[in-house]
Amino acid sequence: MARDHNTSDRYATTLGRLILSALIVLLLGLFLLWRIDSPRVERVRMAVIDKVIPNFSWATSPLTGAMNVLRSARSYTRIYQQNQDLRRELQQMMAWKEAALQREQENARLLDLNNVRLDPKFTKITGVVLADSGSPFRQTVLLNVGQRDGIIDGWAAMDGIGLVGRIAGVGERTSRVILLGDTSSRVAVKIESNGQTALVVGDNTSRPPIEFLENSETVYPGDRIVTSGDGGVFPSGILVGQVTQTPSGRLRVRLAADMQRLEFLRVIRHQPREKISTTGGLVGLRPIKPESNQ
């Protein structure tokens, strides 16, 4: 009996060792496969997330709701001061509104003069933020719109005001947005005041630095930064934020979007421009009409 027990125990340990080594090889293989052929494994990951996260939303929505209530409740404690602030802000807003109305009229007049037609492709899809990356090392959020809604990889996502990030990974019902602060995020931007192009490179902080500026002396804190549209990934002219300067002299972006509270994001439906592949024919040479061939 004792020997029997012993042998079965030995079998168990041998089997355990076998399973353990198989698992180790499997995991190592998975990691290497991901390293070599990342898009395919990422597609599998997106499919899993697509299955899991929307089904979990019944549990998350009351929790996030409660958190928001708590946050609003905290602001009640200093309601008087807030009221004063709001009143002051409202006065400023009235001035701004007047300016905006004038600008609008002026703009309408100028557009009329130019006969400009706005790009009809600039429509947007609004999605609700389902989940964030859940780790201090990544800056991503998950939206509840996906392939079903026509989302395509690479589209820009913004909140009401400014750019938030871009779509990277689309599932059937969900899609992932890499925020501007993520370490793998690079966005081509333009300084609006002098038209210099640069890159906003995410480094896991709330104010990503501006890199590859040609002449940083002519850029001042407060300058507006918009996307340049270089590379054809983003439409140009989406507001990113304003330039700020750190005490060490480094230029960073203060993002226009409210990254503290991302609830609804707009995904901008943007088709890249059609490529012009032919060099134009000679001037004056008429193309052969199909009728003449028949």
């Binding site: 355990g16 399973i19 353990l20 698992l23 180790i24 499997l26 995991l27 190592l28 293989g29 998975l30 990691f31 991901w34 390293r35 494994v41 990951r45 899993v48 997330i49 899991v52 996260i53 979990f56 549990a59 998350t60 929790l63 996030t64 958190m67 933020v129 389902l130 989940a131 964030d132 990356s133 859940g134 780790s135 201090p136 090392f137 990544r138 800056q139 991503t140 959020v141 998950l142 925020l179 602060g181 370490t183 793998s184 896991n204 902080t205 709330s206 990254m259 503290q260 509270r261 991302l262 609830e263």
Partner: protein
Amino acid sequence: MIEDPPLRILRLRLTYLIIIILVVLLQTLPIQTHPYQFVTPNLPMVITFVWVMRRPNLMSPILITIAFLFADIILQRPPGLWTLIVLCASMFLRMRALSFRELIFLYEWSLVAIVITCSFIVYHFSLMFTFLPTHDLKLYASQALLTVMIYPIFIWIFRPMLRYALSQTLQKQTPKAVR
């Protein structure tokens, strides 16, 4: 040595899986979309180590692999790497869990602390060697420190659950033990 009835083992394993999945999914709640000002401890890891040290017979490698592969996939980590590290670490701890049962808690804690620190170092350097973007060691160091600090708390939290299971099996086993 007391052996649990298979149903209880299954139930405790399921409990473990559900706890890990809940912790991972709660981490992804969109409450904090701002970059973190401070790092958070790695809860799935510390829960696993507590369970390994207290109930080494429950924690099969397959169970740990399933739980952490799920976490890897949801939390956007390189799939497999962190799972591999935690699996090796917990198997290392499991081999020593029974011998640490009789010693005072400080020894156990320091062993776990060393293992946690080593895991983070290995993770950092394997990311570096595969040319993946990694973060500064300071962030990992503070996360490792927090994870170590939180270990006794989780020992305390899970003590009733794990001990209750043991005492109940004892009562169930006594009539059979006469045989």
